[in-house]
Amino acid sequence: MSGMPESLHEQLSHQLSQVIGFIYPNEVETQWAILIVVYPYLTGIVAGAFILASLVKVFNVVEVQPIYRLALLTALAFMLVAGMPLQLHLGHPERAYEIFFTPQPTSAMAMFGFVYLWYLLGILLIEIWFEYRQQLVLMAQQARGVMKGVYGALSLFSKDVSPEAIAFDHKASKIITIIGIPSAFLLHGYVGFIFGSVKANPWWGSVLMPIVFLMSAIVSGIAMVMFLYILLSLLRNARLDMRCLDKIGLFLLVAIIVDFALESLDYIHRLYQSEESIKILGELVSAKLFTSLVIIQVLLGMFLPLLILVLVRTVRFNEELRKLLYFTTSLLILLGIFSMRWNVVIGGQLYSKSFRGLMAYKMEMTGIESLFTALVLLALPFVILTVLFRLLPPRWMDEHALPAR
């Protein structure tokens, strides 16, 4: 009777054959798949990179000044891509505008649309504008042809680069960052709330979920900036500010400890309370999520980086070794946080709400909701970042040896 696509039929037949125990029949289909794993991973990096940047502006941690612009541009690059997996995942992407036209106020997903818009337009873009304004004005003065117009437009055709104006830019930047910190918390906390508020699913529905998501976002954001900082210095053959890198490492260590404490609290709390769902959730972890949770998320993604970061602070390693350790650590953490998103999103759909069965998720290799699309979306922010670096070179001011004011 139905004209359902062949590939979907195949996937569902396979998933039905993999069912262990009893599931409600409609649960055989995995509703939120790999694209919905990519989305919180990307928004997490946005929030985390911004929080790292805010350390410079608001908490006056001068050691991390060298990565300030990198962190902002990273946040922007990842934010531009973050909405794409959502759009691609929809059954009717052409109707997506309805979320803004007729939002249902009781829906966390609808309200998130506005939080996302606010953060992108009201915080991130304005923050970057104030940070870069002086440079944009000077670049507009120096450029020729099309680029002159482009930079002029980007600077909104402002011309004032007097010391007072620059001082105002810095002040404005600080104020926006102060507003931006709770906004970043709201941004990724909301994503956590989208899962945490689902009472139907005990793997998701927990008060700790928004907090855990936020902390893991901060960890992933710091790790991504660390990773990019080292990578860029390698590619450009430029010197790395080790004081900066060590400071980032310290914040990363603190963030991991807090994140680990919160996630452990979640598990300990569940085991201790031992509610009805504990049996099937235990089976879920041991049968379906052992590799992705115990091995990748916890051991490789948290314990090992924690060990390395503590080691780096206690043992005196030389610069090259430290750089290598930081690089490895940041990669391990990014892998671990991605795995954490997988364990939450996919994990929550691998057990039945009847608490009596387990399902499977067979990820498609090609197609819209597929590994291929996920990899493209994960690579895209780096492409955008390359473009942003060309357009808004972070070191332009230093390289053009302007008199210090």
């Binding site: 109707r95 939002p103 989208i194």
Partner: protein, 253 residues
């Protein structure tokens, strides 16, 4: 301008926005207020269903009738209603199977297991909750509750985000592969508003399913509530289901 003038203008902004908002609300109310010129008044009704678990024989006719009446895909991945079989063993283990995805063979009989102390069938469907979590999470208001207590999905506005499917504790929803929108049991809204019974109730051979109007007077469901001890699925989630089960075993989830 100075700070004082700036503040004055800012404060004036709020009532101005309020006036604009009020004007737009009035316009919206005018749109919605024009009633349909039909004799059916949904506020006279509050539909529910009763299920007498002890009567169900697990024949699956309700599932077939629902698929025929509502155009549900034939594949065993999509159900608006289904039947489960429970077998509770004297050693405390409970085995549950969905007989709608894998019907029992009719040409042979399984050997009797004397260790089974209780075994029975349970029909399931959308509970048309009075406090529906699926409606709460829909980002665009495509799924909504009608005044007569039925939760519908507007397939023209649903964006297919699948949040409602995640929010339903009963597994009643699925994504229709043809329309790529969320779908579920509608209590056969097109039938009940004409005084007919839902298809599943129509074909049930043992009257295990009872359809009725909780606002009715001489109504089958109202009497059902009087003579049976009623239970609902997952009451702790406070969804206030309107599918009322009689003789529901504690093992049923």
């Amino acid at each position: 301008m100075n700070k004082r003038e700036f503040l004055k203008d800012a404060i004036l902004f709020f009532p101005a926005a309020g006036v604009l908002q009020a004007l737009s609300c009035q316009a919206a109310a005018k749109d919605a207020a024009a009633p349909a010129a039909s004799a059916y008044d949904p506020t006279d009704h509050w539909y529910g269903m009763g299920v007498d678990v002890d009567k169900c024989i697990g024949c699956n006719r309700c599932v077939e009738a629902c698929k025929a009446e509502n155009g549900v895909p034939d594949e065993p991945f999509y159900f608006r209603t289904w039947v489960e079989r429970y077998s509770i063993h004297s050693n405390g283990e409970t085995t549950v199977e969905c007989i709608s995805t894998k019907p029992a063979p009719v040409d042979q009989v399984a050997p009797e297991d004397p260790g089974i102390v209780r075994t029975f069938f349970v029909p399931k469907l959308c509970n048309q909750c009075a406090h529906p979590p699926c409606v709460q999470v829909c980002p665009v208001g495509a799924t909504f509750q009608t005044k007569d207590g039925v939760v519908l999905v507007d397939e023209k506005r649903c964006i297919g985000c699948r949040y409602c499917i995640q929010a339903c504790p009963y597994g009643a929803r699925y994504l229709n592969p043809n329309t790529r929108t969320a779908d579920k049991c509608t209590f056969c809204y097109h039938r009940i508003t004409k005084g007919l019974l839902p298809a599943c109730v129509e074909v049930c051979p043992t009257e295990a399913r009872i359809f009725g109007d909780l606002k009715g007077k001489a109504d089958r469901l109202v009497r059902f509530q009087r003579v049976n001890k009623i239970a609902v699925l997952k009451p702790d989630l406070n969804t206030e289901p309107k599918v009322l089960y009689a003789d529901l075993d504690g093992e049923v989830r």
